[in-house]
Amino acid sequence: MSSRTLPLLFINLGGEMLYILDQRLRAQNIPADKAKKVMNDIITTMFNKKFLEELFKPQELYSKKALRTVFDRLAHASIMRLNQASMDKLYDLMTMAFKYQVLLCPRPKDILLVSFNHMDAIKDFVKDTPSILSQVDETYRQLIEMYTTLSSGEFQLIRQTLLIFFQDMHIRVSIFLKDKVQNSNGRFVLPTSGPVPHGTQVPGLIRMFSCTGEELTRQQFNNGGNYNAALREGSFEIFGDRVTKLGTNMYSVSRPVETHMSGTSKNSAQHTKVNTAPNPLAKEELNLLARLMGGLEVQKPGNTDSGFRVNLFATDEEEEEALISRPDELSYGVINIQATKDQQANAELAKIMGEFTESGDQSPSASSKGDDLLAMMDGL
């Protein structure tokens, strides 16, 4: 569908990831200098020039597995380590948060405002580091250049593409359940009240005209909701009030991050067998992934003592328990390179992934389809 979706998907998911990591680093009392290094390293990697160049090229959306691989890499761009269970949970939270934001956006164009909210927060994380700040500013300019001229219909196509990516995901997020924006069945609450989107009128008026254009009658009807007039429009510039709260940081030390895995398998079991990958041609995706990952340079920890592990759960036992009890259909199946028919792409990717698998704690994901990459791609 829209070939302009990937940058928005990546930046918004990346933004959510940073909110969650920031909260967990504080919650685990990681020393301030180490925490700052992690945030800076990840943000530097996210906004790496070569990487962004690849990202902004017109292309179809990646499959969930491919994108998860990119974020695994990103999360390990610094001295921080995450176990598989924590990485799974992190990704669940990131994706459900952005799904929520996309669904609740009053207009499709507001997804850009949500992206700017994430960008504004990222800018704040690195405000003391000029070198990274300039990378972030450059990305603002690229976003403005690419998206501000798009029509409403083109934004809706982007939104529809994102919604296909998020189709059938109903993982329950504790903070959403508490705020009553998500139901216990994992579906988000869509209120029939509140301000209408910018450019829309409150429903209720029927106007009828004569052939000469004069208004003949006005009638009101009951709109079945409780709407009020639109708020002012948010700013689409580098600086400005975005007006919407979607995309701002909803976590704080007192509002911890948790997910519930139970109760979701009933919903997802029925639907996971369908191939929802927009581009299932394995070789094609492998090439794209290799180019994209080529831009993500991993920092090797100079001294293994400075490395540390972050846990997305309250205790190590909980983390272990989560790994064992995660329903099969919700496993992301991170791509492992073993054998592919395309030697060049494999070599390049293996080289990049080699650094990744060396320094990580990653245990190979439990996939019943075997380790062969193409087989895994075919199973998408």
Binding site: M1, S2, S3, R4, P58, Q59, E60, L103, R107, P108, S151, S152, G153, E154, Q156, L157, R159, Q160, L163, I164, Q167, D168, H170, N183, R187, F188, V189, L190, T192, V196, P197, G199, T200, Q201, V202, P203, G204, L205, I206, R207, M208, F209, S210, C211, L216, Q219, F221, N222, N223, G224, G225, Y227, Q270, H271, V274, N275, T276, P278, P280, L281
Partner: protein, 336 residues
């Protein structure tokens, strides 16, 4: 006025696409077919009128004889012609036409897809059967492909390409009143809200172009010479097709409209949007004064659901069906 009936379960959830529900009533066999698009699959359900038998079928979007090629589907719609009914499926790669039960693909038309993706997306969207033997399909470039359909067999040919729209086609509709008097028998809509009114024939004739107001028209119908158009702003506008005179303007929904339908025998209008609401209206034409009246009749709220398809199940509007994003059922309502 309406009450909810038992839903029909479908194999996958509906994707967020405009006009994502198509209904075909087969009176002689006391069956109704429904189609709902999920990513690259069309879910077809055949439901018997007594509510006892349901059978399912899934169609994938793919080029014939190419094993791995699939693409996302934009729309699936039944096309009813005097001699036959076909199911047309439009995707990023091309247009497929099946027999109405989905059993055999009778025609495949490939779109010109570039080697590497371009900024402008490529896809086909907007489907309508047009009197007497044409099926029209819209393309993301704004072009409209006119296919000539023989009364049987697979010798379907591309008869004409209409290039009038500058933005991607969103939807199109043919005159559904059954009246032969109407001069215009096709209306096409695009992403900037422009509406083109056509007369079919060996060469289609453009009768009128109604300019948009920079807001996508996502769903359009044509009834008794009146265009009914639904927009991304939630507004519905009624125009006289041939002259472009604005008859009525309704602030109908609080979010983007995804589907409109008309029950031709009764003049009932159905509108559905991302705001979770389905509304039923009544249209009255008064030829003497050349006026059209719109009256609001009924609301149904599908809680916490962004609706993507809504269609009447019969020509009187006695029943209608609804689909929503992430919902794996077709919800049905029947007049009380």
């Amino acid at each position: 006025m309406y009450h909810k009936e038992k839903s029909i379960q479908i194999k996958n959830s509906a994707s967020a696409l405009y006009n994502n529900l198509s209904v075909l009533r087969i009176a002689p066999r006391r069956l109704t077919y429904f189609t709902v698009v999920h990513a690259n699959v069309v879910n077809m359900v055949s439901a018997s009128w007594d509510g006892l038998n349901y059978s399912h079928r899934q169609l994938q979007s793919k080029e014939p004889n190419v094993a791995t090629s699939t693409s996302l589907i934009m729309q699936a719609a039944f096309c009813v012609l005097p001699s036959r009914d076909l199911l047309v499926v439009t995707s990023q790669k091309g247009i497929q036409m099946y027999e109405s039960d989905g059993s055999i693909m009778v025609y495949w038309h490939a779109l010109d897809t570039p080697e590497t993706p371009t900024e402008q997306a490529v896809f086909a969207r907007g489907i309508s059967a047009v009197w007497e033997n044409y099926i029209c399909v819209g393309v993301s470039s704004g072009a409209i492909l006119v296919f000539d359909v023989p009364s049987k067999g697979s010798n379907i040919t591309l008869s004409e390409v209409l290039e009038e729209h500058k933005e991607s086609i969103t939807d199109m509709a043919s005159e559904c009143s059954g009246s032969q008097e109407c001069i215009a028998n096709l209306v096409t809509a695009d992403d900037e809200g422009s509406l083109c009114v056509w007369k079919s024939g060996e060469e289609f004739q453009l009768l009128n172009k109604i300019p948009g107001f920079d807001m996508s028209c996502s769903s359009v119908k044509l009834w008794k010479g009146t265009v009914v158009a639904g927009y991304g702003t939630g507004q519905i506008r009624l125009y006289e097709a041939v002259t472009g005179i604005l008859h009525a303007e309704v602030n109908a929904h609080a979010r983007w409209i995804y589907s409109l339908d008309i029950a031709p025998f009764s003049g009932l209008l159905l509108s559905a949007a991302e705001d979770s609401l389905v509304r039923v209206w009544h249209l009255t034409m008064t030829p003497e004064t050349n006026s059209v009246e719109v009256a609001h009749l009924h609301n149904e709220c599908v809680t916490d659901t962004q609706i993507c398809g809504a269609k009447f199940c019969d020509g009187d509007g006695y029943a209608f069906a609804v689909t929503g994003y992430d919902l794996s059922e077709i919800i049905r309502y029947v007049q009380s």
